[in-house]
Symmetry: C2
């Protein structure tokens, strides 16, 4: 008899299974007056066998588990005949790879974390869409987390996500540069709408849109402009203000900053008093949300837009053309930004893994003015 020390034997006795078919179909007719929380039918316990593993496949195909692993993830490493047998067994067992089991030895989860400041800001729609597309194209899954405009919550979310994602995309980070650099030291990370020394990032070129906006306003006779400012800790807020501060005087316009404020409808509405008091005839707001909030507050007070006040937003979010008048706004190519950001971080990840460091420099991400109804001639 051979030696009998079996060091790591797996004894799984899950082959035969119950399937006691006690499904108790409750009659849930009467669609129309649907109740609220439908009571759960007493489901004794999850039926259906546990998910198949490579060990099950190995047994069925009569090979070693490691061979199954290779057949499934290293095409060509295994004899074609064997590979076919394994594929057949996998299909028969309806095998589905367990990503977490794979992530443990490889250290790669094929998962990316996307940190947003505020889910309810429609600006994120397109970013998420674009990111999703680029991610799934390369077999990655996105995990979304929201920081609700708080640097602390953002940093907590990053810490929480960190062990289970291959990389982090910060969409409109509220964290300090130092914290971001610290995170970048630990794992691949890219920022959107922000520049941090030594951290890869995707930032649209805001200059064209702002130039167009100022030219547009100048052409309408406005000479005193306001900037309804967003969060102080937003890099993009500072960037937009900085650009205006340089460019407005170049065109012979005066410009004042009104704020900072929270980047929401309410934040925009809250700026109305200061806007009125400032005597400006036109404002740019940090984003469309604030612009719309301001517009509605102004209208509620009997002012007309653009008669008494011209308003321009940023981003061209969903709904910015619902308003009356429709909002003029500096469009940001959000979808492309999300897409590029994910491609960039995947490149960083691959590079860390020692693969080809190809980095495509695509077309510029430029912004442009969308002229709609909320801008008009300055009152004489």
């Amino acid at each position: 008899m051979k030696g009998a020390v079996v060091p790591h034997t797996r004894n799984r006795s899950r082959d035969e299974l119950n399937v006691t078919d006690d499904l108790n179909v409750t009659d849930a007719s009467n669609l129309a007056t649907a109740g609220s929380a439908q009571p759960v039918t007493p489901r004794a316990s999850r039926r259906g066998r546990p998910a198949a593993t490579i060990y099950d496949i190995a047994k069925l195909a009569g090979v070693n588990p490691s061979t199954v692993s290779r057949a499934l993830s290293k095409p060509g490493r295994i004899n074609v005949k064997t590979e076919e047998r394994i594929q057949a067994a996998a299909k028969e067992l309806n095998y589905r790879l367990n990503p977490m089991a794979r992530a443990l030895p490889t250290g790669r989860s094929s998962t990316l974390g996307l940190l947003l400041a505020d889910i309810t800001n429609p600006m994120f729609f397109d970013v998420v869409r674009g990111a999703e597309r680029a991610a799934s194209l390369r077999g990655y899954t996105l995990i979304l987390a929201e920081s609700q405009e708080s640097a602390d919550r953002e940093s907590a979310a990053a810490e929480r996500l960190s062990p289970s994602v291959d990389g982090l995309v910060l969409v409109t980070s509220r964290m300090s540069d130092a914290k971001i650099v610290e995170l970048t030291d630990r794992q691949p990370l890219v920022v959107i709408n922000r520049e941090v020394d030594g951290v890869p990032g995707i930032v649209p070129d805001i200059a064209p849109g702002i130039d167009e906006a100022l030219a547009h306003l100048g052409g309408l006779g406005h000479t005193a402009i306001g900037f309804v400012s967003g969060p102080e800790n937003s890099w993009m807020n500072r960037a937009r203000w900085a650009a205006l501060l340089v460019r407005a005087p170049q065109r012979g316009m005066t410009i004042v900053e009104i704020g900072p404020g929270v980047p929401t409808l309410d934040g925009g509405a809250a700026a109305l008093d200061r806007v009125s008091a400032s005597g400006v005839s036109a404002v740019l707001a940090y984003n469309d949300l604030m612009a719309i909030g301001l517009m509605r507050a102004a209208q509620a007070r009997g002012l007309t837009v653009p008669g008494d006040l011209s308003i321009i937003g940023f981003d061209d979010i969903f709904g910015s053309d619902f308003t009356s008048p429709q909002l003029s706004t500096v469009r940001t190519p959000l979808g492309s930004i999300g897409e590029r950001a994910v491609r960039l971080i995947l490149d960083v990840i691959d590079e860390d893994a020692g693969e080809s460091p190809h980095r495509e420099i695509g077309p510029q991400l430029i912004t442009e003015l969308v002229v709609r109804g909320s801008t008009g001639p300055a009152a004489r």
Copy 2:
């Protein structure tokens, strides 16, 4: 000498580490004219030591790894003194538990999958917010996936997520009942806005809102109503239509179904011809997106709302009060629905795990009419 067979020795020589401080700070000044894709600074490779494990803690605290595991996750099982020592070591090493390593033996990932039909439908804002709140309250993370209104893509997403989540929440599923039941057999699952036999779900009570809407329209003199219908495979679409079909005649009104159509702005706009041709003086649309699309299309054609046509939407999404006139709509308590759905699925999960099957039946999730400007007296 004792026996010397060490079966599973871990030899990690990661104690000393490099930290070659070659951070090459590139000067990225000039905020305003930010370029597009900022080139990545040549980052030799990820700096910073690999994440600490319980083995590192064990060595530092002079105990066995299993003791560390217990100290960290089974408070009280371990001597207070030892536990403190371990906690201190964990803090010193900045230890962070690896969720995937934990998920493997326990089979629980503390992660929930949320399947949406369309991220860009603002209806999901509140659902996601509510779900997020309930999930994080109980230590769970949400993974969002989008099916883009396709049953196939939805089912594929469910399959893909399945191995790595503890449960699935289908928000507005487009899959067949059979498929949903099949998934439910494999793992905890709850549906929102849908009733499926034997599958736990959260559905708002649409009757009150629809009654109010019909009463409102009746009071304004409307007798011929249209329902601009959404996707055929949407349970909620059928439910709304079924409710209207029963209730409108009870009030002496006629009602016709116009559709089906895609549940977007464009889908609503596309229904305009059929709405005009039908001769109705008021319509309810499947959701706010279609209602707004229809309203804008009507206005673009020179019709007035509500003068020529009264319009009511469903859900009261973000932006439904941006329009002019503002949209009257049947509000759905989306946030509560998301919250309740997550609580429900966590109960299902706990129950499967053999814990207390407490199930709170909260207040009813009722809908209500929000009267704004898009409804008015019927034309004589």
